[in-house]
């Protein structure tokens, strides 16, 4: 504050001969005002959101009981991606083998390459089936839907997990398997 007094009118001093106080300078030191201005700028930058939230579209298929109306899926060209707990991802190509030999485990970094590889290897009927289990999070699902956008996969579906697949995930994660019929009846 003391600084302010000394500097005010400092720009007007002509020399030692000019007497102070005779002619008051009209100049005001603007440094504090600049300080205030920038303080307010920082405040507004921090309290406002620059990037508006975006919206990811999702179209659900209509539930239909009529098998003729349902989309037929070519098993050969399907990639099923399963989401487990702690951001783990499992996938298999085509049908799940009876002994689950084609059931593979991966993570969110690797899955993109898998999808691209499979997509390039198959024709336009390529489809991704997303099956999150009850331990997976909303973020996992959105991330995978996002991967669909990134890999430019037009055909994908969010499908309920089957008890068999759920148990495979549980076994891989070292948890006791659920009694097979029970979850199917309760969750559907």
């Amino acid at each position: 504050m003391a600084e302010m007094d000394t500097s005010s009118g400092g720009g007007h001093k002509k020399g030692p001969g000019v007497k102070k106080g005779k002619k008051m300078s009209t100049r005001v030191d603007l440094t504090p005002m600049v300080d205030l201005g920038f303080l307010l700028i920082t405040f507004f930058i921090f309290t406002t959101t620059m990037s508006k939230p975006t919206a990811l579209k999702l179209n659900l298929p209509a539930d239909t009981k009529d098998p003729n109306q349902q989309n037929k899926l070519n098993e050969k060209s399907a990639l099923t991606v399963l989401l487990g707990k702690d951001n783990t991802v499992y996938y298999y190509e085509g049908d799940l083998a009876p002994n689950a030999t084609n059931f593979k485990s991966t993570n969110f970094k690797e899955i993109r390459n898998e999808i691209i590889q499979k997509k390039n290897a198959t024709d336009t009927t390529f489809m991704v089936i997303i099956k999150p289990n009850d331990e997976s999070t909303y973020k996992n699902v959105v991330d995978l839907l996002d991967e669909m956008k990134i890999t430019n996969t037009g055909r994908y579906a969010l499908v309920d997990i089957t008890p068999l697949e759920d148990n495979l995930i549980r076994l891989t994660e070292g948890e006791p398997a659920l009694p097979t019929p029970a979850p199917a009846a309760g969750k559907k």
């Binding site: 507004f44 309290t47 919206a55 579209k57 999702l58 999150p132 289990n133 331990e135 990134i150 430019n152």
Partner: protein, 226 residues
Amino acid sequence: MARPKIPRKSTTVDMTAMCDVAFLLLSFFILTTKPKPSTAVPIDTPSSVAAKKAPEKDLVMISLNKDGKAFLSTGDGKEDKENKQAIIEAVNTNKNLGLSPAEINALRLQPFLGSALPMLKQQARMTNDQLTAESMNGIPIKDTLNNEMVEWMKAVVQVYSSLGRKPNILLKGDNVAKFPGFKNILSALKKNDLLKFQMVTNPEAVPSGSPLYVGLKDGSIKPADQ
């Protein structure tokens, strides 16, 4: 020696210009940005490459917070608030809740709907300060037999079909919300034939080299399709 004496110059700089710049920037920031909307339910949304801006009109927002509690809210516009009142009235008639007009008005002014249908009378008596994600139980969705989101969505469909418009259903989920909550919201939407909806995400850069990145560059994918 022509000029041995260099005149002593003052070290003070004229601050007027800098002050001008500071306040110009300040006014720019004030005018271009919106303050963070004060959300009663804090939610960390996941990020996606989607480039479409979230709609702000005819908004029906379902929030799913980190504990898996579901809340319903509408946009802040005048029309959206009127629709909110209509939605509450529709649920009130459908389920015979016996809410008085004053209670419906109180619910309309609150930031979100977040209690089971029989508890709405109690929520109407609460102040906005009391309404937090912790104090409310959320709209029951966990039990598939008693998924009240179905009722709410039914009311939304009723209100918007009478207006002849389509609601913009937005789903705002938290990163760590478990999938079953999301699934039950989806089934509530499906039951009411609301098959198109959008999920609120934070923008994210498209990873370079990915098919989307290549497609956007050569123009085979339009940014609007994202």
